[in-house]
């Protein structure tokens, strides 16, 4: 059976085909949801963003111009813009205190707690990065996207993207050190 391309599906969607819209949503919703989650770190908010983006596509499918870019490249940009808007409505998560632990079992528990906290810290720290660095990190560590594809989505050269990632990582490491120092100061 012929598996229609995204561009073919979009032509039918422009003619009002709900069936083809359903196919397109089924095909791509997970990848856009994963990206939205990276920006927002909240399931419901990420789902809202993806739903909003798809409904906007349904309302106005002729905004996509197949001769200019691939559908996914174009739609990633739309989802990214929506995520950046949604971030303004989102509150950051909080880092908790860690303590001294006397036995091995408690230490293990504490270690996994710290890992969880570091994850939370990372999401908050990425959230505070400049938008371009944030987008570079969110796109580049996704399985389905190569760095070259990420660069195309952002409208950058591969080199420029790599330098953005480097700067983002350096900033994150510095920020972690500062936060840890502050954290220890407040405890002493």
């Amino acid at each position: 059976m012929h598996n229609p391309t995204d561009a073919e599906l979009l032509l039918e969607i422009q003619l009002g085909s709900h069936a083809d819209f359903a196919k397109l949503v089924e095909r791509h919703h997970q990848r856009f949801y994963r990206l939205a989650f990276r920006y927002l770190n909240q399931k419901e908010l990420a789902e809202d963003v993806v739903q909003e983006a798809f409904i906007q596509l349904w309302e106005n499918p002729q905004r996509y111009q197949p001769e200019k870019s691939q559908f996914t490249t174009w739609f990633y940009r739309i989802v990214i813009n929506k995520c950046l808007d949604a971030q303004k409505r989102k509150k950051p998560l909080f880092l908790q205190n860690e303590d001294d632990f006397s036995d091995e079992h408690q230490l293990k528990q504490a270690q996994s707690l710290i890992e969880a906290e570091q994850k939370t810290w990372l999401e908050n720290a990425i959230f505070k990065l400049p938008k371009a660095q944030q987008t570079a990190l969110n796109l580049c560590f996704m399985d389905e996207l190569s760095n070259q594809q990420a660069a195309t989505i952002m409208g950058l050269s591969l080199k420029a993207l790599q330098s953005l990632i480097m700067r983002a990582k350096t900033k994150l490491k510095k920020q972690y050190q500062t936060d840890m120092d502050k954290h220890h100061e407040t405890r002493h």
């Binding site: 003619l15 709900h18 949503v25 990276r38 409904i55 632990f101 707690l113």
Partner: protein, 105 residues
């Protein structure tokens, strides 16, 4: 004993995975799409209308288009054709008629 608080940034970045979305997500999107009318630009609406009309009644539409074309052609011919063209055409017709009936022989 203190737990290790060093940051392994590469691993953390690689581990950033989203939980699966709700199965309702696709359902909700499709339900919402059924409730949302598409914003179709005017030119596309006309094209679609013509296309659907042609698919159902191609012959009457062609008849209408030919009649309109004929009428427009007549109006423009009468209004816009310079007199000398008409004269030339008349002269040519007359010459053809003459040669047909053999008056010039």
């Amino acid at each position: 004993m203190k737990p290790d608080t060093n940051l392994d940034l590469e691993t953390l970045l690689a581990q950033r995975e989203a939980p699966a979305s709700q199965p309702d997500l696709v359902k909700n999107i499709l339900k919402q799409a059924h409730l949302t009318p598409q914003k179709v630009p005017f030119w596309q609406e006309v094209t679609l209308l013509l296309r659907s009309y042609l698919a159902v009644k191609p012959v009457p539409l062609m008849g209408v288009l030919l009649t309109v074309g004929f009428l427009l052609g007549t109006v423009f011919e009468n209004e816009n054709t310079p007199p000398f063209v008409n004269n030339m055409a008349a002269a040519q017709t007359s010459a053809m008629a003459d040669s047909y009936y053999g008056y010039n022989l």
